[in-house]
Symmetry: C2
Subunit: 413 residues, 2 copies
């Protein structure tokens, strides 16, 4: 029966529930001190391992660890460090092995999206080749919702709830004046349009976009302009939600189109973002007030609007990661399977890392309308149950109370 | 004892609690049917009066009227129509008198900021000159918080709570990577910096801006750059909150500085807003990742984060407007007086419209630090009590449930 120490790291862009996973891992691990002696939190993901920069989570108060459930953005710090392919350069892997040996790390948990699952997978294979016994578990996280297999990715439901709520509110604001107005809302999602699709829930409630553009569908600027013009002529107001990642048929992102609409001065600098570029473009084509809005970081860090389903399931996934490792599972990512939609019932499940690492889950074509400018009810049936529930929230002065950790250094940084 | 009909209109930029005033006016007025026979809601503010375009609020369900307390943005529609000076051109005033006579309007309530109070005042004087008896009451509203006399303006506390919460969350997100980052947050406020100042509450909680720039202080681009550089060298991360309305000593707004930072292509089109311009400028001066974030419409329509104090006091101010009118008061704006800070006790009071209309309330110089790049504790003592309290919120599918009105046409549009 494998015993030893555990290290957990957070990677990639944060979410408003990323620390729910951390809370689940830490609390479950600390409750299993017969098998797991020390519980470490890596500072800035895998960099914390490479640099022997990590914290002793056993020194923290349990109440503060529980407050991680309402604290947005990687509490341990994140990184965007990409490990080389070990066949090309195994320096980092050798170093990880050295650190794992030095601190008797027998449980390695990594929290992130596609790239992080790939990192997990490569590390695990390397350790196996070197006959170093270690349970490696991927803990999913990404607002992009594009991880293979799992019903949803932690972070997505909360961001979707933020988007649906915010679009409803912005809709109300955007229609108050008698004069026409066109409002363009830019939503995160480089390759997959899950988050942007969530705006259809606002439309379903009667306060939402007229048009929705996802990266799954080729973006045609002329068709887009014609769509907006048509709705503008019909209704005098247009609300558009679009993914930052929409691309034309020759693979150009919107900021790259800027040249064509004569704003070459910025080149590919993405100055002001896609919303500003499309705003300028529509202003040049339709004579009315146009507003461009970027939901920016808010959509991924608005923990005050986190979904109860997301918070609780994500916390449980963290705990499950520990249980799986103690059960001698390795090379898996914890995920979710929906066994019933009404009432929502989501069970924890495990996916082989190898499969997760190389597959990207996009919004199915049949959930998008034929014209490619709106989202179908199938998406609502999928998404609406996920954004339900109000998690418990401890406040201070009617403001969020985030976890205050001691961050007791444990590695010989 | 004056009897007759009442008309209420909403004007200017909406807020997340503007309909709390409407709910207060409608509910109190409908409870006084012995004096007020018909309660009308003007479509698009004063334009609704001029065009005989208004609704019979007596036809609405009371539960839906109460849901106005959680429905953001002018439910009746707003306008930015400015009445001429009656000495120059009294066409609109003659028309208003004609409509008031036709519909026996004896109570006119107008909900808005400085300009709307000026409109109220001019209409009231004109009606008096024509010996038409009518009670004219101003109902305050503005996220800008710049109305004279009143302790606060309805809408400000909720926007301030949104800003404090959002800045706390964005702070968490902005510090996760080991690499340096500079985050610039643009906040509403053309002439007064109240909203931007509210970001200091996030700093007070430990998750806030390093630098705060208000329109009350002359904006010096070089000093700003030097401030950001200094903090960046000290900490590696910088969070800046600034008002969209900051101006240089020669009266230029940030988008007008764009020429100087070589983005002439856009002229004064305010492409991408001030945040994008300052982002470009800082990128040219400091070699690190820079993010520009506009809180855009969200800060004034995020009813899901409305302050309980704001919702309840604003609702009461609406009721008070009716009570004052029935008490034969006229030419006043309803406002608030703080009689105790801890615990917060705010009483309803009345201010002469003439005085309100011509005075703008700015953030006191002594509430801003000497260097003009941060806000003092006096502001926190003023603002923090206002953002307290969680109003009751009825939800549907974990999303806001906005009031659904019938809008029964009553004017002969």
């Amino acid at each position: 029966m494998l015993k030893g120490n555990l290290i957990f790291g957070q990677s990639g862009g944060p979410t408003s529930v990323i620390n729910c996973s951390a809370a689940g891992v830490f609390i479950e691990a600390l409750e299993n001190s017969d098998r797991i002696e020390k519980v470490y939190g890596a500072h800035h993901g895998i960099l914390g391992v490479l640099n022997e920069d990590f914290f002793d989570m056993g020194q923290e108060d349990k109440e503060e660890l529980l407050l991680l459930k309402q604290t947005p953005a990687s509490i341990l710090g994140s990184c965007r460090y990409k490990l080389a392919d070990p066949d090309d350069d195994d320096t980092d892997y050798q170093r990880i092995l050295e650190v794992f040996k030095k601190y008797n790390i027998r449980f390695f948990f990594y929290n992130g999206g596609n790239d992080s699952m790939d990192t997990c997978n490569k590390i695990s294979k390397f350790l196996q080749e070197k006959d170093y016994e270690c349970r490696v578990i991927g803990v999913p996280k990404t607002v992009d919702n594009d991880l293979f297999g799992t019903d949803f990715c932690p972070g997505f439901p909360s961001a979707a709830r933020y988007i649906a709520t915010t679009v409803m509110e912005v809709y109300c604001d955007s229609v108050v004046y008698p004069a026409g107005q066109i409002t363009l809302i830019e939503i995160m999602g480089r390759n997959a349009g899950w988050l942007t699709a969530a705006s259809v829930i606002a439309a379903d409630k009667g306060y939402g976009p007229d048009l929705i553009y996802l990266p799954e569908i080729e973006f045609d600027l002329d068709q887009f302009t014609a769509d907006v013009k048509r709705i503008f002529e019909e209704k005098g107001k247009v609300l558009v939600c679009f993914s930052e990642g929409v691309q034309t048929k020759d693979g150009k992102f919107i900021p790259e189109l800027a040249g064509e609409v004569k704003i070459d001065a910025f080149g590919h600098k993405q100055m002001g973002g896609a919303a500003a570029i499309l705003k300028e473009h529509i202003e040049n084509n339709i004579n009315t007030k146009v507003r461009g809005i970027e939901l920016s970081l808010m959509q991924r860090c608005a923990a005050h609007l986190a979904s109860g389903v997301d918070v609780e399931r994500t916390f449980e996934a963290g705990r499950e990661a520990v249980r799986a490792a103690l059960n001698d599972e390795t090379d898996v990512m914890i995920g979710f399977e929906r066994v019933s939609n009404d009432p929502l019932k989501i069970e924890l499940t495990h996916f082989p890392l190898a499969k997760v690492a190389n597959t990207e889950q996009k919004v199915p074509r049949e959930w998008i309308n034929e014209a490619g400018n709106f989202v179908n009810d199938e998406f609502i049936d999928y998404c609406l149950p996920l954004i339900q529930g109000e998690p418990q929230r401890i406040k201070e002065d009617s403001l969020p109370r985030f976890a205050k950790l001691k961050f007791v250094q444990a590695g010989e940084k």
